[in-house]
Symmetry: C2
Subunit: 226 residues, 2 copies
């Protein structure tokens, strides 16, 4: 069964509806955990991971993902340049520090990015992203565009339009892996690579209401390859 | 490596310390998920599950466990006689309702308990329990003591003293399975049966500080058989 790809407004509405029932901490924990599980399935040997964390909920998923990767035996490092003064993100940061995950003070130069890390997790922007990319993130994304290290994007390849995909074909992230959360967004139709679905918390009634056509997750797994 | 079994005061202190870093929703989600995973591993065919939910955090773990069991293809039903007016528990209840899990209005009689259910999940009392059992729960526990349906206790077999185990040998729950959360408590040394550890969220520094001697969780798994 092929899941339906959501428009941006649908993704936002589904998310709002989920928050009628769930706490953000809860959903973020399950979402980030499923990202770490999917990465462990596809990249079992790529232990040196750089997690690039944005200022919103996509970044929160990235912080949770980093913590679980650490528990799974990976060596994640985090670059988190813009940290909102919200308790949610402050706690997620404290948790990563408790698990002794290093936070970088500057983004690695191209050469370092290519050689030191075996995988980049792109948790910069999620399904509420609207272009243009703010100046402070342009340089980071430019470096990520040019790196030879494979990239795994959480929910949306950062800088892509949520519906129309890559806007500037010369200057776009081309992730090797995409982990859609809850349900894929329209831009995923422009993605060619390893595609996973994570975020196993959609009740049947919501799946029906939003015509999600979700695949069955195998047994107790929290992610599934599409 | 054999984990150390904690005294009640140590378990309470460890829990308090965890809450310096984590939200209760977060830890409860991971704890309840690990219970559901352990049950799916040991009882893959026992799909008709009664989850008996107490008024505190142990009950919260049970509600999360029930929701994940439902997602794993089980048919849980919930008995939740005493529901505190806390948003946390109200939300966990709403989530179970959203997943169409039936809530029973009365506790099943012995015959029904023996025949209708293939497994009982005991999520009544946790590591902060102090005897005696309140009157309203005595009848429930008496029925659970006498049932032929196997029982899986979350963290503490309900009614057992957290350190000294079964106080009244004639009238005690004898679970077939025990899922210790974070670390086993002292009463687990009186338990003979299938023993799992769940709640994979203890940072190395805390494990060292409390001398937990935790076993390694395999790969991405959230529970481990001891």
């Amino acid at each position: 069964m092929q899941p339906r790809y959501l428009k941006q407004a649908e993704a936002i509405k589904l998310d709002e509806e989920l928050f009628n029932y769930f706490g953000v901490e809860q959903l973020m924990e399950l979402a980030g955990l499923s990202c770490a599980s999917a990465i462990a399935e596809e990249y079992p040997e790529s232990k040196n991971v750089l997690v690039v964390v944005g200022p919103g909920n996509n970044g929160g998923d990235g912080l949770v993902c980093a913590r679980h990767l650490k528990m799974f035996g990976y060596f994640p490092e985090i670059f988190y340049p813009k940290r909102p003064a919200k308790v949610l993100y402050q706690n997620l940061t404290k948790q990563c520090e408790l698990f002794e995950i290093p936070f970088l003070s500057s983004f690695p130069a191209q050469e370092e990015l290519n050689t030191k890390y075996s995988l980049i997790v792109d948790a910069l922007f999620g399904f509420s992203f609207k272009p243009p990319i703010r100046q402070e993130f342009c340089e980071i994304i430019n470096t990520m565009v040019q790196t030879s290290t494979p990239c795994c994007s959480i929910d949306i390849p950062s800088g892509w339009d949520v519906e129309n995909g890559p806007l500037d074909p010369m200057n776009q992230i081309k992730p090797a892996m995409l982990i859609s959360l809850s349900a894929p967004k329209l831009c995923a139709s422009f993605f060619q690579g390893i595609h996973y679905l994570g975020g196993r918390f959609i009740a049947p009634a919501l799946a029906t209401k939003y015509e999600l056509n979700l695949p069955n997750y195998p047994s107790t797994q929290n992610c599934v390859r599409l």
